[in-house]
């Protein structure tokens, strides 16, 4: 066997690909990262499309980036800094608003305006969620346990979880099981009576999914908001200074420092195989590069169906990959603004502009938005998650000017007339978004200097996200843990020898956590695979 130039080739320089590469390089392996675009980060990118304005083009907040990764890779030294995001502002069409933040007393008073009862139980709810959150957090820091295995190590792992729960095991397991299977609205209705508070909280459960707030399985994501570490080393949500792309830049710097090579504008056309084993890659320009292992940081569909190819795979495996659901459901509109937007519900400057601005006035509104999408239309009145990061981080826009990031749901990839009708409807989509938002921010149209519109179609074309799915595959129960991406292949290995996967399509899934990339690297190193 001829010695390969590289121990590992990582396909895709998104945050997971870079994390994986950094860990492998840190362990002394020769690593090459190949990125199709001219910058690192994939969907974790900062982009300047209008002079002086920096958009966090896709991913706009950092959620649950693992503290041990930050420490292992010494990311702060490489420019990683998270700025807190604490407020959630929900304006209503009738001119009222709800502003929640990190101050329990202030939040209690804000909720009291809508329901005295809800104000009283809000704190208790937070505590209960926090306890459950701490319980499940270990799951995202380890490979997924496999309940179908008879392997003693696996059973020990499951039992270990049971032991951790101690005497209240049954109670906690039941609560956890309920959280995983209930709808966000049903769960919140067990605690709260105000529809407005419920709607404002429930939307966390649907971000990036093709589900409604009343769909079972949406309650679980609520836990993610309560997983903050006690030592305060990180928060559940925040802005990366310099835009989200700065996370990827810091990871890239760490990887390079450890000796990894990152090649940009080097799109991979296919995974090379020899005797049923991945041996390297063929670039789009025809170059061939060999390596002992190939690690894919692109999504499972693209990995198996494009880079490997159906013809080289077992038909049963192809069937399983094809039924792994990718359906994208969201889009992004990024705006360059000439000034500070002013909300009708709360005019003037204030704390409410610095955090998360949620357009989710009531449950029926959210369900109607979902109904549009079910039948192949983008929402006429969408749910929107808006942030103005330049208020917190002035480096993102010229003085006095701002960038606004609008996450929009629902925007189904499969429009009734076909996904390829998206380009023709891109402007209509953006207009719908801006018109809806203008109902809350009357001066918005006057402030817009530039807009970047990313439909699911664009997310696929530009960032390689199949069907525009921001999580590399839906985060529905049947596609999580030991079933992600495929039953029997949830440990970062794939059925093709020498090919590994390390991104959001694997456990524990999407969001800027870094866990899939790091866990894949650990699996490679611990298993002495290279």
């Amino acid at each position: 066997m001829s010695p390969s130039a590289y121990d590992a080739i990582v396909i895709g320089a998104g945050h997971n690909g870079l994390t994986c590469a950094a860990y492998l390089a840190r362990a002394g392996r020769r690593v090459l990262v190949l990125e199709k675009r001219a910058q690192v980060g994939g969907a974790t990118s900062t982009e300047e499309h209008y002079p002086g304005f920096k958009y966090s083009a896709c991913s706009y907040v950092v959620s649950l980036m693992r503290p041990w990764i930050i420490r292992d890779l010494d990311l702060p030294r490489h420019g990683y800094e998270i700025l807190p995001l604490e407020e959630t502002f929900t304006p209503f069409p009738d001119g009222r608003y709800l502003l929640r933040d990190a101050d329990p007393e202030r939040t209690r008073r804000a909720i009291e305006a809508f329901s005295k009862h809800d104000a009283e139980v809000y704190g208790e709810f937070g505590l209960a969620m926090g306890e459950l959150g701490r319980l499940v957090k270990p799951l995202i820091d380890r490979p997924a346990p496999d309940p179908t295995s008879l392997n003693p190590v696996e059973l020990g792992r499951l039992l270990g979880l049971g032991r951790k729960l101690g005497g209240r095991g049954e109670e906690w397991l039941a609560a956890l099981y309920k959280m995983s299977t209930m709808s966000a609205v049903d769960l919140l209705s067990e605690w709260f009576e105000s529809e407005r508070l419920i709607a404002s909280l429930a939307v966390s459960g649907i971000i990036g999914t093709f589900l409604g707030v009343r769909s079972p399985g949406t309650a679980y994501v609520l836990l993610h908001h309560y997983m903050g570490d006690i030592d305060g080393s990180f928060r559940a949500w925040g802005f990366a200074r310099g835009g989200t792309g700065q996370v990827a830049e810091a990871l890239a710097a760490a990887a390079r420092e450890h000796g990894a090579e990152i090649r940009l504008e080097a799109g991979v056309a296919e995974v090379k195989t020899k005797r049923d084993r991945a041996r390297g890659v063929v670039l789009e320009n025809g170059d061939e590069i060999d390596a002992k292992v190939v690690v894919s940081a692109v999504d499972p569909h693209r990995t198996f169906l494009q880079l490997v190819g159906r013809e080289r795979l077992d038909p049963e495996l192809v069937r399983q990959v094809e039924r792994f659901k990718m359906r994208g459901s969201s889009g992004k509109v990024n705006l360059a603004l000439d000034g500070v937007p002013e909300f009708a519900a709360r005019p003037g400057h204030g704390r409410h502009l610095y955090g998360d601005i949620t357009i989710a006035p009531d449950i029926d509104y959210l369900e109607r938005a979902y109904d549009d999408a079910k039948y192949g239309e983008f929402s006429r009145r969408p749910f929107m998650d808006v942030v103005i990061p330049s208020l917190t981080d002035p480096t993102l826009a010229p003085p006095g000017k701002h960038v606004m990031s609008i996450f929009v749901q629902y925007a189904p990839y499969h429009l009734a007339d076909g996904a390829d009708t998206w380009p023709a409807r891109r402007d209509e989509f953006a207009d719908t978004v801006i018109d809806t938002l203008t109902e809350y921010i009357p001066n918005l149209p006057d402030l817009i200097l530039h807009r970047q519109v990313l439909t699911p179609w664009d997310l696929e074309q530009i960032y390689g996200l199949t069907e525009g799915n921001i999580f590399h595959g839906e985060l529905s129960l049947e596609q999580l843990a030991f079933l992600r991406p495929l039953a029997g292949w949830a440990r970062y290995r794939t059925p093709l020898d020498g090919l590994w996967m390390c991104a959001s399509g694997t456990h524990p899934g999407g969001g800027i956590m870094g866990a899939p990339g790091a866990l894949c690297a650990k699996a490679l190193l611990e298993g002495r695979r290279l």
Binding site: E170, T181, S189, D364, E367, L477
Partner: protein
């Protein structure tokens, strides 16, 4: 004269099964039923002069075979249909005949590809049925540290799952949380077949086919299917009542319960609306567990966690029952002369089913609801005068909390809309209409004591199944009140005419008092 050992609250199928099981165990039992007749949702009822419905529900095929045997019901006249009668999902082309047995549906299907897919699906279902049935027929596995008495059951369940083999078990675990629409579309090319197969999964739930967890409901149904009782639910009740009579069970009707009395830590008597007080050291409540514990016992006797959990049990009724008296001969137009007596309407596509449920979300009724139609008089002639017929329809997407309320105008409009739709499939029905009765969810609540009007004592949903049905604390049929048990459809394995909750509650009682 000494009182009974056990009082069973509710004379529905589960109450009667519980009573028989207890009698078998040597207990002296009294059953108290609020209505004038036994049976609850299975009771035969005259809804127009000379016209009877054999029950409010139409399915009896999930009543457990081993119960029939162990309770000796055959000796009391219980018989089964020799053959399964199919359900027709009509279309412009003669319609699709759907059997509970997928392999029979396959035989009746023209499209070879989907017929093969059906056989493949049937193969999967047959593989998982023994393990799933084990789960359905036993108390739900405990989550926490299992006691010794539990260990055998738990080990058995684990072993039966393990025997499935890795791939089948993984596939079962993958499918359980899915939505039935995705599952059916994975397997079948024809939309109307996918919709026709998916529709029954929605019967006791609160969601459309795109709601995660509906695949589990379909698996539950498929794995529990058995033989259909001849004469319908009413005939099953007759046999159970006859067996009770012979076993010395006292059956009291027109005896609504006002309170279940607690003395100290335990139950000591049941007080009827009439003021009569029946003393007994043990009570099995087979009504909705919310009614039993919150209304009849009273929240002040319950730990606050349990009270909260019970109030959070969701039982939002969205199904109405329409009973029609037709003074003429009836025949399904699409299949003349074939004796088809069941129809599935409004389930032509998955989107149809989903749109019908969309209306429910906004507290409206669907314009084109999913209808489960049965013409019981075709197989049970004594339900109606000679030459006449009874039609029953479960009308979905008719929410309990309808915006604007269930006024007479709204009720009439719904009845007319359903009659109009039925008339397309059963020509002449409208002209020959001799009477009828619409039971909306609020009617079902008022008449049968079903909170929310839910026919299954609580929605089927992933978080209201197994060890969480009706709540974690009550999942083993025992309650914090000594001597009080719950054993209706609100308990595992849940909705449908299975008799299993009643039997398992009675067994728990017997085990505790041995």
């Amino acid at each position: 004269m000494s009182g009974p050992d056990v009082i069973v609250v509710g004379g529905g199928h589960n109450g009667l099964v519980a009573a028989l099981t207890l009698a078998e165990g040597g207990r002296k039992v009294t059953v108290v039923e609020r209505a004038g007749a036994l049976g609850g949702i299975c009771a035969r009822r005259e809804f127009a002069p000379g016209y009877h419905a054999p029950g409010l529900v139409s399915e009896t095929g999930r009543f457990r075979d081993d119960l029939v045997e162990s309770l000796g019901l055959a000796a009391h006249g219980l018989e089964f249909e020799a053959d399964e009668s199919p359900t027709l999902a009509p279309d412009d082309d003669g319609g699709l005949l759907l059997y509970e047995d997928p392999s029979r549906t396959a035989r009746a299907l023209a499209e070879a590809e989907d017929a093969a897919a059906l056989r493949d699906w049937n193969g999967f279902l047959r593989q998982i049925t023994p393990a799933v049935r084990r789960l359905l027929d036993a108390p739900p596995p405990a989550l926490g540290p299992a006691g010794l008495d539990d260990f055998k059951g738990l080990a058995g369940t684990a072993w039966s799952l393990r025997r499935l083999g890795g791939d089948t078990m993984t596939e079962l675990l993958r499918v359980l949380p899915m939505c039935v629409a995705d599952w059916m579309r994975e397997r079948f090319a024809s939309e109307r077949l996918a919709a026709g197969l998916a529709a029954p999964a929605l019967t006791n739930g609160y969601g459309g086919p795109w709601a995660p967890g509906t695949a589990a409901a379909l698996i539950w149904r498929q794995c529990a299917r058995g033989r259909t009782v001849r004469g319908g639910p009413g005939a099953l009740v007759d046999a159970l009542a006859a067996a009770c009579g012979e076993a010395g069970v006292e059956l009291v009707t027109d005896a609504a319960v006002r309170r279940i009395h607690v003395d100290g830590d335990g139950v000591d008597a049941v007080e009827l609306e009439s003021g009569e007080r029946l003393e007994a050291p043990r009570v099995i409540a087979t009504c909705n567990p919310k009614t039993a514990l919150l209304d009849l016992v009273g929240a002040r006797y319950l730990p606050s966690d349990l009270e909260r959990a019970l109030r959070n049990v969701r039982s939002r009724g969205i199904v109405s029952v329409l009973l029609l008296a037709v003074a003429d001969d009836l025949e399904v137009a699409a299949r003349p002369g074939e004796g088809v007596d069941r129809l599935r309407l409004g389930a032509e596509s998955l989107d149809d089913l989903e749109r019908a449920f969309d209306a429910v979300k906004y507290r409206r009724r669907a314009d084109r609801p999913y209808l489960e139609v049965w013409i019981p008089s075709l197989s049970i002639p004594d339900l109606a005068p000679a030459g006449c017929h009874v039609v029953t329809a479960l009308v979905h997407a008719t929410p309990y909390d309808l915006a604007g309320g269930w006024s007479n105008e709204v009720r009439e409009a719904l009845t007319q809309a359903v009659v109009h739709r039925l008339n397309d499939e059963l020509p002449g029905l409208r002209e020959a209409l001799a009477g009828g009765r619409l039971l909306t969810p609020p009617d079902l609540e008022a008449e049968l004591g079903l909170p929310g009007g839910h026919l299954g004592h609580g929605e089927m949903a992933l978080d209201q199944m197994l060890f969480l049905r009706p709540t974690r604390e009550l999942a083993r049929y025992r309650t914090p009140i000594d001597g009080l048990y719950v054993g209706g459809m609100g308990s595992h394995p849940g909705p449908g005419v299975t008799g299993v909750p009643g039997r398992l509650a009675a067994r728990a009682l017997l085990a505790d008092s041995e």
